[in-house]
């Protein structure tokens, strides 16, 4: 009755820390093959937005999908939960969580935000006018989630500016302290701090450990780290970071298909038993991991392929750590190459980025608004075969400001967020470099063309 088990579906010998044998590393041509479904001719330097999924993990996923379709009742009764548990156990090890009960699988960080903020919002019913602190550049979905669940329940929000371009952690810490003072003013209690591990736009690695520590010192009640980009781009140790809630997407940098994320909820946080999945099934009240493991009939296969992902990353020298290190080195190298070619600068020093870096765009492009940034991005996609998100940075201190980033021709107001993942090649970045140069040189009406 059962088809032969696909070994990529997770044999017992595959563990999170197993290093590959020296002679078994993935070859260049195998790597090409794993990502052969990527559209040819596109310089895909935006892994940060939607991630990627290698062919072998997709095959494992299809295998699970087929098993469900073959006999769904049997799948539901015998296959689903044990294999979800297996995925959760692997994640627990990867992030150094103490209890598997602390690890839930959800669709994405956006869903995790809804879960955490609903819980926070319920507490505000009794403590109106207390505050929540977050970065102004927090992901738009998170900001809207705050509006939907926290502001609506009566809380005030204090936003912390992220200095950008930024030169050191100290700058970020100073701004955060300022924000925290403001949030505590007039005797208010700070019920929640939301801290990005790696911001989205502009992208910078935040000193989360320090900031969480400061939150504890200053009596912040709960800390939620939005680490959408973290797993697969930085090492994660939830004991060290010390937050109450920590979420990361697996489909961005950890080779999962769309979509799956883990939400870590520290057991010692008294609110963890009050945390529920908003889609309520018969599992309501059995703990978040169990609730999340059944929210009605749907396709849970992205949550089942974690063992197959481990098999994939362990084909690389150094496994996941090796991949992260090489992505970081390459993206910094490519960022510097571009900045040099254009006469611009990077948005942060190398040690404050992981596998993404913000590269200043030539001022001659005249990116002067969010709309300009969007249109440039579309133009690069449609006319130059380059996929890269563009960020508009409004000048803070006016034209004459001393600390404004500049090139030889004016203020730098546009930044490209380039990513590096295992499928990228140097040619992708040369293509981007040349496209920008061509736009400046040849395209006569800069305002008109994009």
């Amino acid at each position: 009755m059962e088809k032969e088990e696909d070994p990529r579906n997770g044999d017992d010998h595959v563990t999170a820390t197993k290093k590959p044998k020296l002679t078994n590393f993935i070859t260049e041509s195998e790597l090409r093959s794993e990502f052969s479904h990527h559209e040819a001719g596109v310089a895909r330097i935006n892994n940060g937005s939607f991630g990627c999924c290698p062919g072998s993990v997709l095959a494992a996923q299809r295998s699970w999908q087929l098993r469900f379709l073959q006999q769904p009742d049997h799948f539901y009764v015998s296959t689903l939960r044990p294999n979800l548990l297996r995925s959760r156990a692997l994640i627990q090890t990867l992030i150094n969580a103490h209890h598997i009960d602390e690890v839930s699988l959800v669709d994405n960080a956006t869903t995790a935000a809804a879960i955490v903020l609903q819980q926070i919002g319920r507490r505000f019913a009794h403590h109106r006018n207390d505050t929540v602190i977050m970065f102004r550049c927090a992901f738009p979905a998170v900001k809207k989630s705050i509006q939907a669940y926290v502001t609506r329940a009566g809380a005030s929000v204090v936003e912390v500016d992220l200095p950008f371009p930024v030169s050191s952690n100290a700058e970020i810490i100073a701004e955060f302290r300022k924000g925290l003072s403001s949030a505590k003013s007039d005797g208010r209690k700070v019920r929640l701090a939301i801290i990005d591990h790696i911001t989205s736009m502009p992208s910078v690695v935040i000193p989360v450990r320090e900031l969480v520590h400061i939150c504890r010192e200053e009596g912040v009640e709960q800390v939620f780290v939005d680490a959408a980009h973290a797993i697969g781009s930085v090492s994660i140790d939830v004991q060290q970071i010390g937050a109450d809630f920590y979420v990361s997407n697996l489909y961005k940098w950890f080779f999962a298909p769309p979509s799956v994320a883990f939400l870590y909820c520290r057991k010692s946080n008294p609110s963890s038993s009050e945390t529920h999945h908003p889609v309520v099934s018969h599992e309501y009240g059995n703990g978040l991991p169990v609730e999340s493991s059944w929210i009605g009939t749907r396709d849970y296969t992205p949550q089942l392929v974690v063992p197959a992902i481990m098999e994939f990353v362990n084909q690389f020298e150094g496994g996941s750590e090796g991949i992260m290190r090489r992505n970081h080195e390459e993206v910094v190298r490519m960022g510097k190459m571009l900045a040099e070619a254009w006469g611009t600068s990077l948005g942060s020093p190398p040690e404050m980025c992981a596998s993404m870096v913000m590269v200043g765009l030539p001022s001659k492009l005249h990116v002067l608004s969010d709309d300009d940034a969007t249109r440039l991005r579309s133009h690069l996609r449609d006319k130059h075969g380059v996929e890269v998100p563009i960020y508009y940075r409004a000048p803070k201190n006016g034209e004459k400001g001393e600390s404004e980033p500049r090139d030889d021709h004016g203020l730098i107001t546009g930044y490209a967020r380039i990513s590096h993942q295992v499928y990228n090649r140097i040619e992708d970045y040369y293509k981007f470099r040349d496209a920008i140069n061509r736009i400046i040189l040849e395209e006569t009406s800069l305002q008109g063309c994009f």
Binding site: R44, F50, F68, T110, A114, K144, Y284, T297, E387
Partner: protein, 452 residues
């Protein structure tokens, strides 16, 4: 093609559904799907199982799975391009298709979500906010059927009871003999809801087709009663609705109506629609997963709840192509499923000397068949064990319902099997079930013999 009447919405309506559910042209029968083509479309089903439980998880033909895989691949090839240029128009197309299928007036009224469980969370969260923000008074009432789906009952507990609302259950008779019995109980429960004078019945949650035990509820009539009796809003949970019974939003008249498309409408897991009759209160409905689309209306919010696989939602219009390969299209399929499940149910009841749980006109494509009393089903746990026993040892997949004996009832039938009929089913699967039960009876089997 002739239209035909259905009694499935509680009264007779003419099946002139929509221009979209257009019948295939009158052609020689050779252009209709053949038995072997159907076999091929469902060749991924485990052949050793008598799969007579379409009601739980539905089915998806190979050609739809293939169409879905193409969409998944399209995203993986160049996700940014897909997100910016293909996703939203594709979702709008699916919503437009559904709108026509269900006779909604505006496409704004149609949102696509994962499943009926998610739809329940959306409707009930609104209720919870209304209590929290003082629009409803503590003690105001929500009414639901005793046979409401487990997840819906828990959702009502999470969002209504927790928020201070009072929940009243409509006790339904089972076995049931007529719609009147259901209407009678419903009226009784409504009276109880209003009885303490100052409280209002804010929401009635009514199944279109209950899950266990499965019966078609006269929703149109019950909605009418709700309007007469001043119930604020009515939410019809039609998880089994579309592809199984007629679904006409104007005819039924509910404020909210949800149905899964992966159960009886050949979609892959999972996709459902939530219909919200246009009214000021719709502005208050939100998807619980909040994205940057928050505040742009439920349909737009639901079309983007973060990065995930939306392919099941995008493939919906392709189902019509599949359904139209059958004589009579989706309506023909529904009718034949109904006729066949009734025939199979009657065959089984006769073979076992038992009875059906309701008359044929109160079922759609599922029917409850009494199991021989000698099997000794005396608890819900027994039903689960028996179900597992049938799956593991007889290759039959069928859910069993435990019907608690009332006071002074002796020797009654306490177990009912819910059999389904879908286009891939064959008579042999039901005779396999018949024979399995006969063998159990013959062997003197009782549930007490099954180990824990």
């Amino acid at each position: 093609m002739a239209t035909h009447d259905h009694h499935l919405n509680g009264d007779t309506i003419t099946n002139s559904t929509t221009n979209l559910a257009k019948k295939p042209k009158l052609s020689p029968s050779s252009t209709f799907i053949t038995a072997s083509e159907i076999q091929s479309e469902f060749s991924h089903h485990d052949p050793s199982i008598a799969r007579i439980n379409n009601g739980s998880f539905g089915c998806c033909p190979a050609s739809i799975v293939k169409a879905q895989q193409l969409l998944q691949l399209q995203f993986l090839r160049q996700p940014d391009h897909f997100y910016f240029n293909h996703l939203r128009p594709g979702i709008l197309e699916s919503r437009t298709f559904i709108k026509q299928l269900i006779n909604a007036h505006h496409v704004d009224e149609v949102s696509i979500v994962d499943n009926a469980t998610t739809a329940a969370a959306i409707v009930l969260q609104r209720t919870a906010w209304a209590f929290a923000e003082g629009r409803f008074d503590k003690g105001d009432v929500a009414i639901m059927l005793h046979y409401a789906y487990g997840a819906v009952k828990k959702s009502i507990e999470a969002y209504v009871t927790r928020a201070g609302g009072c929940v009243i259950e409509v006790q339904l008779p089972f076995p049931v003999n007529s719609n009147d019995e259901i209407v009678h109980e419903f009226r009784k429960a409504l009276e109880k809801g209003k009885e303490h004078g100052r409280r209002r019945v804010r929401l009635a949650v009514i199944d279109h087709i209950t899950s266990m035990p499965s019966v078609v509820i006269p929703v149109k009539e019950l909605v009418g009663i709700c309007r007469e009796e001043g119930v604020d809003q009515v939410f019809v949970d039609a998880a089994h609705g579309i592809g199984c019974t007629d679904v006409d939003m104007q005819d039924i008249g509910a404020d909210f109506y949800t149905s899964n498309l992966h159960k009886w409408f050949f979609c892959p897991p999972s996709v459902a629609f939530l219909y919200c009759r246009k009214s000021p209160s719709c502005l208050d409905l939100h998807h619980p997963v909040v994205s940057h689309e928050y505040g742009n209306g439920l349909a737009v919010e639901s079309a983007w709840i973060g990065t995930r696989d939306y392919s099941a939602q995008l493939v919906v219009p392709k189902v019509l192509e599949f359904a139209n390969r059958f004589e009579g299209g989706i309506d023909g399929i529904k009718k034949r499923n109904h006729d066949n499940v009734v025939e199979m149910g009657q065959m089984l009841a006769k073979a076992w000397g038992t009875n059906l749980g309701c008359p044929p006109e109160m079922c759609a494509t599922m029917i409850m068949v009494g199991l021989p009393a000698s099997l000794g089903i005396s608890s819900e746990l027994d039903t689960m064990k028996l179900r597992t026993h049938l799956r593991d040892n007889f290759g039959v997949e069928v859910p069993i319902y435990y019907r608690v004996p009332k006071d002074e009832e002796v020797g009654v039938i306490t177990g009912y099997a819910r059999i389904s009929y879908q286009v891939y089913n064959k008579v042999e699967e039901y005779t396999k079930f018949r024979d399995a039960v006969n063998q159990l009876v013959c062997d003197g089997f009782t549930c007490a013999l099954l180990s824990k």
